[in-house]
């Protein structure tokens, strides 16, 4: 690995000062499970690595507030996957966090880091889109909340401003009961980067939210009237046709070695229908019929 300097600010002010001083030569380090790979392969070459894990204002917990759940920037995938509130109210996120890498990776990788990497294949991204998560960003000028859909730009690029630090991810309070699920396609059952990743949430009113990733430069929240999906009287055929329209923004890379575009698109359809069914099942398991 190329040499770099390492700083471990104790507070946000310290982090802001370092980022202001070093600009693009500085990179933030949270769990490190992506960053260190890229430091080693030379695809990024910062002069300074700023470890955010000792910043006093950042925590590794999950807090209940009237605005919803607040997941601290240092919270690991392991903690998220195990958290009872997330397993109950944000099931798709729990599902997704539980399949990020293997145990050792989940013990280090943070949700905030995963979001900041903005990988199109990020497992947690579709769930965060489905749940309308907000990224809490702090900078020298203060704090702001960025809707997750406005956060992702393309692989490795977000709307986080230079000098800002993500301090938390917020999950809005659910408006009612819902069934939600995260599904993915990989080349093996053990940990793998997903060729398609998809989250679906259906509430008691039949409102269906669906998001997908790994089939384009950024994860996508599907728009449109989705109520048909939760309609038990609708045929699979009709649902498949609707899904087809929801997936029009899918643009799988033609050069990827992980899967070819036609397979990814076909799997998007398969996973879409499966996710809808699984979400309905989970809703019904709570005694709710959409």
């Amino acid at each position: 690995m190329r040499a770099f300097a390492y700083e471990r600010p104790a507070d946000l002010a310290g982090a802001f000062a370092l980022l202001a001083e070093h600009g693009p030569d500085a990179r933030l380090l949270a769990g490190g499970t992506d960053l260190i790979i890229r430091l080693r392969d030379g695809s990024i070459r910062p002069r300074l690595v700023v470890d955010v894990k000792r910043i006093g204002e950042l925590d590794d917990g999950i807090r209940d507030t009237s605005d919803g759940l607040i997941i601290g920037a240092r919270t690991t995938m392991t903690a998220i996957a195990a958290d009872e509130r997330i397993r109950r109210d944000y099931t798709a996120l729990a599902d997704a966090a539980a399949v990020v890498g293997a145990v050792q990776i989940r013990n280090r990788a943070t949700l905030a880091g995963n979001v900041c990497n903005a990988s199109p294949a990020a497992d947690t991204a579709p769930a965060l889109l489905v749940y309308d998560a907000r990224v809490v960003a702090a900078g020298p000028a203060g704090e702001r909340r960025i809707p997750i859909d406005a956060f992702f730009v393309r692989s490795g690029v977000t709307t986080l401003a230079p000098g800002e630090v993500v301090t938390a991810i917020e999950l809005p309070v659910p408006t009612g009961r819902r069934g939600a699920v995260h599904v993915r396609r990989t080349r093996r059952r053990g940990h793998d980067l997903a060729a398609v990743t998809l989250a679906c949430s259906i509430d008691a009113a039949g409102v269906t939210r669906l998001a997908y990733g790994s089939v384009g430069p950024r994860p996508v929240l599907a728009w449109g009237d989705t109520s048909l999906l939760a309609d038990r009287s609708a045929s699979d055929h009709a649902k498949a046709e609707l899904l087809e329209r929801l997936f029009t923004d899918a643009r799988p890379s033609p050069t990827s070695m992980r899967a070819s575009p036609d397979y990814r698109l076909a799997m998007l359809r398969v996973l879409g229908l499966r996710a809808v069914r699984a979400a309905i099942d989970r809703l019904q398991a709570q005694g709710v019929r959409p």
Partner: protein, 169 residues
């Protein structure tokens, strides 16, 4: 290059060691502390050969800077048991023939230990999931899984408690 002094506890022993800022915990353990039981293979967090336990949880030491370990308590394979003993997991690995070439075994042991600390009596599926981050190319997975299940059935003498090894001549 930037040397940083870190203070950490390794296998119960307080250590103070200067490390390079860009060196990983794996490099610090192997090169600076001479603990070569932790192995290096893929360096991208896929194979688990470098797994150690940091503050109670298993991590890939190739994906953690040494500097990040400042203040941490680390257990490596050398610290699983006393100098002339083996713990129940190690003993089970021997009993089931789980250790073939042996290169992945330190990592497997650390993951097994971490799993049993959370889930005392795991199912087979939980063992498969818990050890999925540790590749074995001799592919002794069946015997490794058996070993973890066997170890779970044995009373735990606790970390660092040595138990008798093979009889000496």
């Amino acid at each position: 290059m930037t040397a940083i002094r870190i203070e950490l506890t390794v296998n119960g022993r307080p250590r103070s060691v200067p490390v390079e800022a860009h060196h990983t915990l794996l490099e610090a353990l192997r090169d600076d502390l001479g603990l070569t039981g932790t192995k290096e293979c893929c360096l991208v967090g896929e194979c688990g050969a470098c797994t150690v336990i940091v503050d109670g949880v298993s991590v890939d030491s190739c994906l953690m800077l040494a500097a990040e370990a400042d203040g941490a308590a680390i257990t490596t394979v050398e610290g699983l048991a006393g100098t002339d003993g083996v713990d129940r997991v190690q003993r089970a690995f021997l009993a089931t023939g789980a250790a073939q070439c042996g290169f992945c075994i330190p990592g497997q042991l650390m993951s097994a230990r971490a799993l049993l600390a959370i889930t005392a009596h795991p199912t087979k599926a939980e063992v498969e999931e818990g050890l999925a981050g540790n590749l074995c190319r001799c592919a002794g997975y069946e015997q490794i899984i058996e070993a973890v299940l066997l170890a779970a059935d044995e009373p735990d003498a606790g970390d660092g408690t040595s138990e008798p090894a093979e009889p000496a001549p």
